[in-house]
């Protein structure tokens, strides 16, 4: 994962609440076995609506509970492949939020009134290290889990980080692991 520190640029507005991952990337595009190339199918059905516009800017500002529904990581893959680097919303669905942080697509939670102002401003700069958004001449702070922030800033490989704890995992398995079920002994 590439480190994320500053995301700056124009803001794309999708002013809808409860946008689910079935809209972000419909099921017929989940059949691919690759991780890339999902951007062209982003909001596949909504994109057919008259008046639909979704410029591929660095920042997407949207409504509350963004990314609800399915756990498909294809949704953040599609948003990222399309060109977005950060998503700003009043709230996110849990799994979607987590998935974004795993691929370096920065999710930023901001009060609804601030998101509305950001939408109106049209341009912004997000500084992850300072945990601050600048737009229309004002600065707004945002919260992010310290550990998630650190991983994004340093572009760390999560698995690599956890494998540094391998001896702890070994010890857990030796001393505290639950007995069974053992899947490899099930009747085939």
């Amino acid at each position: 994962m590439d480190p994320v520190r500053i995301v700056e640029g124009a803001v794309t507005v999708l002013d809808r609440a409860d946008v689910d991952t079935d809209q972000i990337i419909p099921k017929q595009f989940l059949k691919r076995v690759e991780r890339t190339g999902f951007g062209e199918f982003l909001f596949h059905d909504w994109a057919k609506e008259p008046g639909w516009e979704l410029p591929a800017n660095p920042i997407l500002a949207t409504g509350r509970n963004f990314g609800c529904g399915s756990s498909r990581e294809h949704a953040p893959w599609a948003l990222e492949d399309y060109g977005f680097r950060a998503i700003v919303a009043p709230s996110f669905a849990d799994i979607f939020y987590s998935n974004c942080t795993k691929i370096g697509l920065l999710p930023v939670v901001l009060a609804e009134v601030d998101v509305k102002e950001l939408m109106a401003a049209g341009h912004a700069r997000i500084d992850l290290e300072e945990q601050e958004l600048s737009f229309a001449g004002r600065q707004v702070g945002f919260e992010i889990d310290e550990e998630i922030g650190r991983r994004l800033l340093e572009g760390l490989d999560d698995i690599g980080v956890t494998l540094q704890l391998e001896h702890e995992i070994d010890r857990y398995e030796a001393e505290r692991e639950r007995t069974g079920p053992v899947t490899t002994t099930l009747t085939q």
Binding site: D18, P26, K31, E34, A93, E166, E168, E177, P181
Partner: protein, 453 residues
């Protein structure tokens, strides 16, 4: 020690290091795993615990009785199932693929085989993993990067979520089911009501549910935004688990009985819902929180989102739910495709005919559910009534296989999501219980099941 909840106890027993959670069981399916296996391969990493991993093919499989991946006509679906088979062979993961007599929807086969047990941590690259919480396990959906992380480390980096308890007072009324209870709950707390929380369902109405019913409730936790849903294991749970292939014998009952939340355990959020006041539920909109009593009417929209939903659903505010006519009925999905669900639906269907205007199908949740239903003659009941009797898979819950509703078609569905396009582009989904779906198939419109039985 301070009073702890079921969730606290499982969390504490699995924390390897701060915010690193050990995973007892990793369930894998074809859609969210190929990129994880590929990354593992590229990084030259091993799969840490194949004996804690189990795979099946469910999302893509046709339900026409095909028995090998080769028979899947859709090329991308075929490749995805074949890729899963190859990955499992390469990394030593046990798999029940298409054609196996144990294949089925991942959240149906886990409990069925007995690999889902009280006190465990269970993950899968699928949001409906919350289903397994019905057994007093901590179970939740993860994305593909996390699938890879679990494959490589058997752990997850996970901050402890907040906790919520929803207590149901009173008993469910006649004809009101677990599906109505959870739909009614989501209607009250909203589709984001549970965000950031692990939810424990409690109270007499929950204790009175069968395991199938409890799985239905926990399954739809994610539709209320919850990270995981859980129910304290009790005699109903132990009886259900006992004797299944992967279940321990004898059951460690002393240990399992200690899992229930202690008296006085603290929850970050609490709700109380009067179960006795719940009616059969029907969704009218494009998320599961847009739901009303079957005796109600399509509500006046209160904002842009609801206006959009009414427009998509081609419904007018004020229309009685009982006047909504259907083109299709789907009985299936990880929410409602278990033997208990099929028995309930069959009981209503027996001796009746599906309306001439309706195409109705039943998709058992697993090959074993199908076999059991056929032993009981349920397939004959459904067929005689005009239902299409299919093979196991996710099917029309999300339409990744050929079971897709056409644009504009209105579907009564026992599944979990009524999102735009979920069951087919332009298709209009109404979520209901298996009984309500069965009755809707017969009448061609929604009916209050309480007036039937």
């Amino acid at each position: 020690m301070a009073a702890r909840s079921l969730f606290d106890k499982i969390w504490d027993a699995h924390e390897v290091a701060p915010a690193v959670l050990y995973i007892d069981l990793h369930l894998v399916h074809e859609v969210t795993s190929p990129q994880a296996f590929e990354s593992l391969r590229l990084a030259g990493r091993r799969l840490r615990r194949p004996d804690r991993t189990l795979a099946t093919a469910d999302h893509n499989v046709p339900t026409d009785g095909s028995t090998t991946a080769k028979q899947i006509r859709d090329k991308l679906s075929r490749v995805q199932v074949e890729t899963l088979e190859q990955n499992c062979a390469e990394f030593g993961v046990p798999i029940y693929s298409i054609g196996s007599d144990r294949q089925g929807i991942v959240h149906v086969i886990g409990p069925e085989l007995g690999v889902t047990q009280p006190g465990m941590t269970i993950v899968c690259g699928d949001s409906h993993t919350s289903t397994h919480g019905a057994f007093g396990a901590l179970a939740f959906g993860i994305g593909t990067s996390e699938v890879e992380h679990v494959l490589a480390t058997q752990t997850l980096q996970q901050r402890k979520p907040r906790s919520m308890r929803i207590r149901y007072e009173g008993a469910l009324g006649h004809g009101v089911t677990a599906k109505d209870l959870i739909l009614g709950t989501i209607g009250r707390i909203g589709v984001a009501g549970g965000v950031g929380h692990v939810i424990e369902y409690a109270g007499p109405a929950i204790e009175g549910l069968s395991m199938e019913g409890r799985m239905t409730v926990c399954n739809m936790t994610i539709e209320g935004g919850g990270r995981a849903g859980m129910i304290a294991p009790d005699e109903t749970t132990f009886e259900w688990v006992a004797g299944r292939e992967a279940a321990p014998a004898p059951l460690p009952l002393d240990e399992w009985r200690k899992l229930a939340s202690d008296e006085g355990a603290a929850f970050d959020t609490e709700h109380v819902i009067d179960a006795a006041a719940l009616s059969p539920q029907v969704t009218w909109g494009t998320n599961p929180g847009m739901v009303v009593d079957v005796t109600g009417t399509v509500p006046e929209p209160t904002g842009e989102g609801e206006e959009r939903a009414l427009d998509y659903m081609a419904l007018e505010a004020g229309t009685p739910i009982s006047e909504i006519t259907l083109d299709r009925v789907f009985i299936g999905s990880c929410t409602n495709s278990r033997i208990g669900d099929l028995r309930e639906a069959a009981e209503l269907v027996k001796g009746r005919r599906v309306a001439s205007t309706v195409e109705a199908m039943v998709v058992p949740g697993s090959a074993q559910v199908k076999e059991q239903a056929e032993r009981e003659g349920l397939d004959e009941v459904f067929r005689a009534a005009g239902f299409d009797w299919r093979s196991a898979g996710c099917s029309m819950c999300l339409g990744m296989n050929p079971d897709i509703a056409a644009p504009g078609e209105r579907v009564a569905s026992t599944s979990n999501r009524n999102f735009e396009g979920r069951q087919g582009r332009g298709a209009r989904s109404h979520l209901v219980s298996p009984r309500m779906a069965a009755a809707a198939a017969i009448e061609g419109r929604f009916v209050d099941i309480r007036e039937w039985t």
